[in-house]
């Protein structure tokens, strides 16, 4: 995964009240995750367990434990979809500053 320059054209992708600083954007590589159709594969990867550090554009799906990825750095309030388990999620900030995803029913 390569970090790239900010793409302001993407600034309306996901709205968040916490959008104070410009977000970093990322190029996504296919990591070999095959559990969704080809065009969606780069947006997901297998979590390697404890020690697998998440990038700013990644969160773990609490339902199926797959890592969900985006072209853009995540912020609290962002909506994300986990296609492998069909969950709708929202990015939240835990008290220790970590970003995680909560399921939205």
């Amino acid at each position: 995964m390569n970090e790239t320059t900010l793409d302001t054209a993407e600034s309306s992708i996901v709205t968040s009240s916490a959008d104070a600083a410009p977000r970093r954007t990322f190029e996504l590589d296919d990591t070999g995750f095959k559990e969704v159709p080809k065009r969606w594969r780069k947006f997901y990867r297998h979590w390697q367990g404890a020690g697998d550090e998440l990038a700013p554009n990644e969160v773990i799906c609490p339902v199926c434990k797959v890592v969900i990825r985006s072209h853009r750095e995540f912020r609290p309030g962002d909506r994300v979809y986990c296609m492998p388990c069909m969950s709708r999620l929202v990015v939240v900030e835990r008290p220790d500053g970590r970003l995680e995803a909560d399921v939205l029913y």
Partner: protein, 262 residues
């Protein structure tokens, strides 16, 4: 006809309705399973050579696979019955794909039993089936026959699928290579099933919170049957208690998210 999302679109940008149409579609299922099952007849690389196994290890694996077959049979029978009960066409189409998944799981586990020298897998499954798992299967089918969508989806797609997911993942780590590849493909399918169950129930309970109390009662009745059965699987795999992952943790996380802990 509604257009499908652009090829380069970020999935998180889809409208909620478009996301559900996409992931519940037969096309999505077909493209997904093609990705990880292509060139893997019966769930594994056909050129793999059997790992040498002593008699005790082979016998334990046979017992374990027989009980996996009991679970998969329960899921196959129940998910096919649930197609009739589904509240909408998205769910009907999704459940039809789950029926195919469960049938494949049953088939690949039975083929694996044959690989291991079992001449009559159906008879062997009957002989080695865990009684608790058989009792769970009967109760699950009663819920389906009664037309109780919520309880049956909870029992099958949340309780059974969560337990299977945990056990199969753990078994993957110590399994011979052929069994491991079979399990990896099954776990990939289970993600869809358990996600469908939790999200469907979550949406329904959000509209009708009164359903929580009844599902909590169903849970209290069925939990011991499934937990006890899969603890038996750990014993069959020869895993010491201190080395076993907490069997119910993944499941209990889902139960907590759904508000069924009371």
């Amino acid at each position: 006809m509604r257009p499908r999302p652009d090829r380069d679109a970020e999935p998180h940008l889809l409208a909620e309705e478009d996301f559900l149409r996409e992931v519940h579609s037969f096309d999505f299922w077909f493209e997904a399973v093609s990705g990880y099952l292509e060139e893997q007849p019966f769930g594994h690389d056909p050129d793999l050579v059997e790992t040498p196994m002593d008699d005790v290890a082979r016998d334990s694996l046979i017992t374990t696979l027989c009980n996996y077959c009991v679970g998969e049979t329960a899921a196959l029978e129940a998910s096919s019955g649930l197609v009739r009960l589904a509240p909408n066409h998205h769910s009907r189409v999704f459940l039809a794909t789950q029926v195919v998944d469960e049938a494949r799981h049953l088939e690949v586990f039975m083929r694996r039993l044959e690989d291991l020298g079992v001449e009559d897998p159906e008879a062997e499954i009957d002989r080695r089936a865990n009684q608790g798992l058989e009792d769970f299967r009967s109760r699950l089918l009663e819920l389906v026959d009664r037309g109780d969508w919520d309880a049956a989806v909870f029992a099958q797609n949340v309780l059974l699928e969560s337990m299977e997911d945990t056990v199969f993942r753990f078994h993957e780590q110590s399994a011979d290579e052929i069994t491991r590849q079979v399990l990896v493909g099954v776990v990939a399918d289970e993600r869809r099933h358990l996600g469908f169950g939790e999200n469907d129930l979550g949406r329904r309970l959000a509209h009708d919170p009164s359903g929580r109390r009844r599902l909590a009662e169903v849970r209290a009745e069925l939990d011991p049957l499934v937990l006890g059965s899969f603890e038996g699987v750990y014993r069959d795999l020869g895993i010491a208690r201190q080395d076993q992952p907490e069997l119910g943790r993944h499941y209990l996380d889902a139960v907590e998210r759904l508000g069924l802990t009371a």
